[in-house]
Subunit: 192 residues, 2 copies
Amino acid sequence: MKLLEDRIKKDGQVIGTDVLKVDNFLNHQVDPDLMADLGHEFYRRFSNEPITKILTVESSGIAPAIATAMEFHKPLVFARKHKSLTLKDHLYTATVYSFTKKTSNEIAISRKFLSADDNVLIIDDFLANGQAVEGLMDIIAQAGATLSGVGIVIEKTFQKGRKLLDEKHVRVESLARINAFENGQVIFAPED
Amino acid sequence: MKLLEDRIKKDGQVIGTDVLKVDNFLNHQVDPDLMADLGHEFYRRFSNEPITKILTVESSGIAPAIATAMEFHKPLVFARKHKSLTLKDHLYTATVYSFTKKTSNEIAISRKFLSADDNVLIIDDFLANGQAVEGLMDIIAQAGATLSGVGIVIEKTFQKGRKLLDEKHVRVESLARINAFENGQVIFAPED
């Protein structure tokens, strides 16, 4: 998506060889017009799927996910992160390891909001090692729901997340795909 | 806002004498069409103010706040919660006590995203004791920014938050105002 690539070039900040900071338009300060554009594009790409729910993880996933849910007119459910959970009876839970923070969190979704009747579209801001998406897929499997696809705002192709999802034959649509960071510049993958 | 009151009557769950659970349309599962309606209504009420930024706190505030930001076409900044912060140089921070969880969190916003030139509209899902809004007001004061108003989805008039804000002469617009819970029913304040 050229609009997004241009925005990353203009406002993204490359740190070292594997970190892209986009806190001025995506995950701390958020540009609502861009979110509407991203939601529209995810809808265009997945509108042939019988989506019933949009799923994401708090907090950075919520803005692009609600913009997408607005296009589908279907509910968004966001998983909550917890350090540890004791009462789990009414929850689906999964453990998610963060390579950035080097800690594990449990993510949880109330059983009320996901069932075997659901066709789920996962939306997230980044795909790097794929841990958050795998956690959500675990929860979708527990609910007996169907995963229709995964929509990612920014994918880092050089980390293992995309490969993991391809091996599981999951349909992934990433609006910007980054192959590398070189000399502080972002090298995008060629458009499909 | 009648649409919201009707939704609370239909889908809200009263627990005891002071808790309203709205996790099926506002703060876990989120109805995107309702968010768009709330955003539209906040815009209608505050469009006479020279708003430059929308401010909220992760995570439950993000959905109504981004919907509002979409109407104003101005950036949303969401404060992040931390258990404790060591490096604070580039951040505005405030301490927020949660009466529900009986714990304190620090909330933080990068100094890059708030300045003396900003006119800020705070949006949050609930106003109860007003701790989150007071934390954001503290941060706005640190930045030398101007608070234009506070937009609340659901206010509990019988807790102290609204009184605190009225005493500080802050303009508050709440889309649903709850006076009490009686026998599991929600008693709304009369519309202005």
